[in-house]
């Protein structure tokens, strides 16, 4: 092996490492410069303070929940939480079963209930439509002209539902203000209500519930098919009711189809908000309705999803709720960092103790691994909104040891090769060849464990598995691109190459110098005491009977054992 080979390789590896670190840093700096990211990692609630609720969705009837339904549940909760005025709330799913809501501060009772409540979807006939904004005071109906219904309303569309109070409230109703309040206390299904349609920018007085959302069997979006079976190129939402819903829908459409103006419409209301208020063009007896309008593919899909969700009222059970004060969070962060520093210092001390100046390589390698981990965490925080939790910090601290372990495996390998009498540059190369496989295999075990842990972990501990896996990867990068190349370069220096007493690779300490080198790599081992002068001839006799391989081994054995039988024979 030429001397330039390893050095060239080392330089190239270090260059690559530099490129990786500089590239990641450049991305980060550009992120910070454009205000998309910060230099500090994003912190999870247990370090920042706030509330975390883990909710498990419950479907009526106890059926299992599928991923699609869970995704919809998340959408609904997100809408509710955002609407309740809590900023920066994060809603994620976990293990395909739970919904995790994290928010800064302490949510009030109302927000908690809001999050837990099941979605409430209903179909109500429209009685009256009005403008989004409140009617100017001058245009409002004078008190004497306000309706004063004497008769009992006959059906859901009957204007007799509207009494003076409701009319007054309706005219003064400010949709923008009301929606901001997000006061979605469920309206009485047997009474009329006022609801706003944010898409169409109108508000309605709606009659009592005609069909509950649970009567929806299915909702899909698709292209409209004309009666001749042509594709009209229009996006529509197809709605299908179950048996009971079909009967009710038939009644409603039968009545509405003959009505004029707004009363021809029925409104689909979700959590007090009008999703859509289609007009009724025909009596629908088979429970299969088609909602058409100016849908795009996306808006049709979105409405269909919401309708489907309404068909399946999911309520949420709080599995665990944790509220952490900002002070405790800061405390935990500080303690976590202190634990990390103590751990790092102890590992550094032990490395010096064991490996002398070679310990510096360990420490620098750990620093490089730390830089890579830091960059990965901050960038993941930016790209994936990854937040570092206390468990995550624990994972990083634990991995200090695991990372240093791969250096130890490597260093000990080099020492083994030195003991076999190799020169340092050659020991570094051979040692690396062997240590590489061991490190790869053992890191594969670590990574596998981290991935399995990450998949099964519930709660904040997921962060632990995540950093454990992340640092295992960083470790591999560092061993390949930093530790080994650095040793290759150090091996060429006089200090290490000649095995200075403080280098940690002192051959005399390793008992390396007088070893017989010819037969190579066989380990010295003496199951029987070394032959003495007395039986030298006998062993010579035995030697004659050995095979070539055995003879070589014997030579290696006796040579390495520092009591050479052949030498003694010469003397004799």
């Amino acid at each position: 092996m030429t001397k330039t080979g390893p050095i060239k390789h080392a330089r190239r590896a270090l260059l690559w490492l530099g490129v990786i670190i500089i590239a990641l840093s450049a991305v980060l700096v550009s992120g910070v410069a454009t205000n998309h990211s910060t230099f500090a990692p994003k912190l999870a609630l247990d370090l920042e303070g706030g509330t975390q609720m883990i909710l498990s969705p419950k479907v009526q009837g106890g059926a299992d929940i599928n991923q699609e339904q869970l995704d919809q549940a998340v959408k609904i909760i997100r809408q509710r939480v955002d609407g309740s005025g809590v900023s920066e709330a994060e809603i994620t799913t976990q293990s395909g079963r739970n919904v995790v809501v994290s928010m800064p501060g302490v949510p009030d009772e109302k927000t908690r209930e809001l999050i837990q409540a099941s979605a409430n979807m209903e179909f109500r006939p429209v009685i009256k439509a009005g403008s989004w904004d409140p009617l100017p005071k001058a245009e409002r109906t004078p008190a004497k002209d306000l309706p004063d219904p004497k008769k009992k309303p006959e059906n859901g569309s009957d204007t007799n539902w509207v009494d003076a109070a409701l009319q007054k409230k309706f005219e003064a109703y400010d949709c923008t203000a009301e929606l901001a309040k997000q006061d979605i206390e469920p309206a009485d299904p047997a009474k009329p209500m006022i609801a706003c349609d944010p898409d169409q920018h109108v508000k309605y007085i709606l009659g009592p519930v005609a069909i509950p959302g649970t009567d929806i069997a299915d909702a899909t979006s698709g292209m409209q098919q004309s009666q001749q079976g042509f594709n009209t190129g229009q996006w529509v939402v197809n709605l299908e009711f179950n048996g009971e819903g079909t009967t009710k829908f038939r009644e409603v459409t039968e009545r509405l189809v003959g009505m004029q103006g707004a009363q021809n419409q029925f409104a689909i209301v979700l959590d007090g908000q009008v999703l859509s208020a289609p007009t009724t063009n025909a009596l629908i007896a088979d429970g299969k309705a088609e909602i058409s309008g100016n849908f795009t593919e996306e808006s049709a899909k979105a409405l269909a999803e919401k309708l489907k969700y309404g068909a399946l009222p999911i309520s949420f059970e709080i599995q665990s709720s944790q509220q952490i004060s900002a002070t405790l969070g800061a405390d935990q962060l500080r303690m976590g960092l202190i634990a990390g520093i103590i751990g790092l210092v102890l590992v550094a001390l032990y490395s010096f103790f064991q490996y002398r100046l070679l310990g510096f390589v360990t420490i620098f390698s750990l620093v490089v691994a730390g830089i890579l981990t830091y960059l990965a965490i901050v960038l993941l925080g930016w790209a994936q909104n990854y937040r570092l939790s206390l468990a995550g910090i624990a994972g990083i601290i634990v991995s200090i040891g695991l990372t240093a372990d791969s250096f130890i495996v490597y260093f000990e390998r080099i020492r083994d090769e030195l003991r076999d009498g190799r020169s340092l540059p050659s020991a570094v190369e051979t040692g690396w060849k062997r240590a590489k496989h061991t490190i790869l295999a053992s890191k594969a075990v670590n990574l596998l464990a981290a991935v399995v842990l990450y998949i099964v972990a519930v709660g904040g501990v997921k962060g632990f598995a995540f950093t454990l896996g992340l640092t295992a990867l960083a470790d591999l990068l560092v061993v390949f691109l930093f530790t080994h190349p650095t040793l290759q370069l150090l091996a060429t220096t006089r200090f290490f190459g000649e095995g200075h007493r403080l280098s940690g690779l002192d051959p005399s300490l390793l008992g390396a110098e007088p070893l017989y080198r010819g037969a190579g790599r066989l380990r010295t081992y003496r199951p029987t005491p070394p032959p003495s002068k007395r039986n030298a001839s006998a062993s010579k006799e035995a030697e004659r009977r050995q095979t070539i391989a055995e003879r070589r081994q014997a030579a290696a054995r006796s040579g390495a054992g520092q009591s050479s039988a052949t030498k003694e024979n010469d003397n004799a």
Partner: protein, 335 residues
């Protein structure tokens, strides 16, 4: 440390050798005793000290408390929620923990308020959490599946890497020894079993096998050409490998245990109960037990599994015969 380095040399050359494999029955007996004890201890103690995650209920943590009196907290809870019997503990300096049965949302806020007043701290120092009764069970069920998945995958990985299922089997049996003994020690320490602790246990699996892989790799290397020589028996080769990797095993586990120990110290003494403490105790014990187990259980077990193979037996006989022969000839000359 020069001594450890020279000791390492002696171990490497075989000048000094510990009978890890030869005395295997002794180690197995000790391991079996420990496993049995680890199963009996929790049984005698009436199970593990399960955390609130497994029982369900409400928990409050009050930090920055000047007078850590238990009675103050009990009184505060009784005033705010009369029907509930609280458990108040001083878990760390200036930190109180109050656990009750499940409270309603309203009660939770009231109790938190009352505790803040009683201990004379601001509202922001009171942390509350609520756990449904099925939460812990959920976590353990997930952990159980995780364990199964990990064991199956890692057994495959090792069987492929080492190209022998016997190493896999020895490693996995040893793994269970580690987990059971660690659980026993955990039970003895009376620490609470929380989801964090369970994750700690799962992490031991990873560490314990990491160590085993390093040693087994050396065993594989040493035994690769065993049959081509007659100096050492197969078993002796394994023993040499374990001896040669002894310094490595000690160094890696010391280095692994140091940071975990610092988390344990911070977690247990400064922060009190919580993620750090639960996670690190399981890990701390697990790393030590795992390292010992690799040397005393997994490697000897592998030797036992290979011992009966015809090729190993034949080679064994050959080596011993040769050794006997040379001794006889030596004795003849000496006489």
């Amino acid at each position: 440390m020069p001594n450890l380095a020279t000791w390492g040399n002696d171990l490497y050359t075989g000048r000094r050798s510990y009978p890890f494999i030869a005395k295997r029955n002794l180690w197995f007996a000790i391991a079996a005793l420990l496993v049995i004890a680890s199963i009996i201890v929790p049984l005698v103690k009436g199970g593990f000290n399960l955390g609130i995650e497994f029982r369900g209920g409400s928990e409050f943590t009050v930090s920055q408390v000047q007078h850590t009196e238990v009675k103050v907290g009990e009184q505060a809870v009784k005033d705010a929620a009369p029907d509930h019997e609280p458990t108040v503990t001083n878990i760390a300096p200036n930190t109180m923990r109050i656990q009750t049965e499940r409270l309603t949302n309203e009660q939770t806020l009231q109790v938190a308020d009352a505790l803040a007043k009683a201990y004379g701290v601001s509202d922001s120092e009171v942390t509350s959490s609520f756990v449904g009764p099925s939460w812990g069970a959920d976590v353990s069920q997930q952990a159980f599946w995780g364990l199964i998945a990990f064991v199956v995958l890692v057994a495959l990985l090792m069987a492929i890497y080492f190209r022998t299922w016997k190493m896999s089997l020895a490693a996995i049996i040893g793994l269970f020894t580690v987990v059971i003994v660690t659980a026993g020690i955990y039970s003895l320490s009376d620490f609470e079993v929380t989801p964090s602790a369970i994750i700690g246990f799962l992490t031991i699996l990873s560490y314990s096998l990491y160590d085993t892989v390093v040693v087994f790799d050396k065993i594989r290397e040493n035994t690769a050409h065993t049959f081509e020589q007659t100096d050492r028996t197969f078993i002796e080769q394994i023993n040499l490998a374990v001896n040669q990797t002894l310094v490595r095993s000690i160094n890696t586990s010391v280095v692994a245990v140091l940071p975990v120990g610092s988390i344990l110290f911070i977690g247990a003494y400064l922060l009190g109960a919580g993620t750090l403490k639960d996670l690190s105790l399981a890990l701390f014990v697990g790393i030590i037990v795992g390292t010992l187990c690799t040397i005393f259980v997994q490697a000897p077990l592998y030797a036992v599994l290979r011992h009966g193979e015809p090729a190993v037996r034949k080679h064994n006989a050959k080596v011993l015969a040769k050794r006997g022969e040379s001794q006889v000839s030596q004795a003849a000359t000496a006489g």
